[in-house]
Symmetry: none
Subunit: 137 residues, 4 copies
């Protein structure tokens, strides 16, 4: 089953609601399992740079089927895959991208958030992920 609009919007709503609570304008992007854009929202006041970063975090998460920051473990100084971050058109190997899975564990897409500090983006992304998760439970 591909990710549905309903699932994508639920994830974005969850993220946006947390961002609003934090007073933080963010960009939230949801990609499908093929890393193609499914839904996207840029809150009023979010910086333009976050458009690309949110999409790229989600892309990193879906391409590696892992949280975006996990990819950094493979390409950080001293790790065995230097330059990995230059592949796939450029990765965003830092927090804010989370894979979205169906109940049977298949990756059906990913969520990417950008707009605040990395820690804030992660918090917002986790809220979006939780809203998505609640749906499929």
């Amino acid at each position: 089953m591909p990710i549905s609009s309903h699932q994508a919007h639920t994830a974005i709503d969850g993220a946006e609601s947390k961002a609003r609570e934090m007073g933080l304008p963010v960009v939230v992007a949801v990609l499908d399992a093929g890393a193609h854009l499914k839904a996207f929202r840029r809150m009023d006041g979010a910086v333009l740079a976050s458009i690309d970063i949110a999409i790229r975090k989600a892309s990193t998460a879906v391409l590696f089927q892992a949280n975006s920051e996990a990819v950094w473990e493979y390409c950080k100084p001293g790790a065995p895959a230097p330059g990995l971050e230059l592949t796939n058109g450029g990765l965003a190997p830092f927090g804010g991208g989370i894979p979205l899975k169906s109940p049977d564990g298949q990756v059906i897409g990913a969520l990417g958030v950008s707009g605040g500090t990395v820690a804030q983006d992660v918090e917002v992304a986790q809220a979006g992920f939780a809203a998505f998760k609640a749906l499929t439970r």
Copy 2:
């Protein structure tokens, strides 16, 4: 005033509601005045090709401050600007992209629709435009 999330979502809701009535899965994209993505929705079942096409129609509309199909008048065979469609990273000079203006006539963004025939995309885009227009009246 930049285009707001509220305006962008109202336009997308209007388009999606018409598309649903027509039984047509489409992609709807809203860009701001600088051709940056503001909001995006891909309905379940829309073909992947429509992601790029919808965004490109909206981009064509905002870059030229005209309906996307109007640009074809300048680059169609025999017209004075052959190859115009190759500029700006590649245009989509056919129907489905409409500029969005503030009450004072300023272009604040554009709407792009793709998923059906060009005539269907235009019909869906016009419904989105009408919903946006009703807001700013």
Copy 3:
């Protein structure tokens, strides 16, 4: 001798002054002999699409050492170089790009204008060219 800032600005001033007389907001770009940007002006009110088009017309003119529209003769339907317009990152083979030459006939750059109809752009570009020419006489 590479094109100087003084020459580039004189060309742009000449073009802009004609455009203002015509009430037409345009973009004017001057490239050097290597097709690198030397000077650029976007008049208030010019459409965003014209940024890329003006630069591309100038690029077409300097790459072929010919007026931009002359290139169309080689790639128009039935001509011997179909697809020529797809080379060099995409040409703009229509009027508005003019090579700039030193008194000894060397191409030292080009001027590109976009913002109106092709005929208007040519008129503005010719005014810029005339101002440049007057300098080197």
Copy 4:
């Protein structure tokens, strides 16, 4: 209000005048709020590499609504966003890019300078910024 040609040229004049005083040929670029080129000048003798660098510094500043060097704090070794500099087509997270704001604090564009050492570029950019600021006071 979008950035005007008058504002853009005043910023460039301010920067160029300081650069001339320092005997330093530089490139100065001004982008609008959507990161689109508004005005550009390459002084005689400036290296070609500075064309891309000046535009990229301005782009970094407008996309993040911050001085270009501030972005480095997020992506330098040990910082939480490794690879951030690979986003948005490649950033220039070092000094010489400064956002330009309207009196009400809205970012209406940015100025980017390249040609000397980073410290020199910053000095030139600040002179351009001061000239712009004097206008809007």
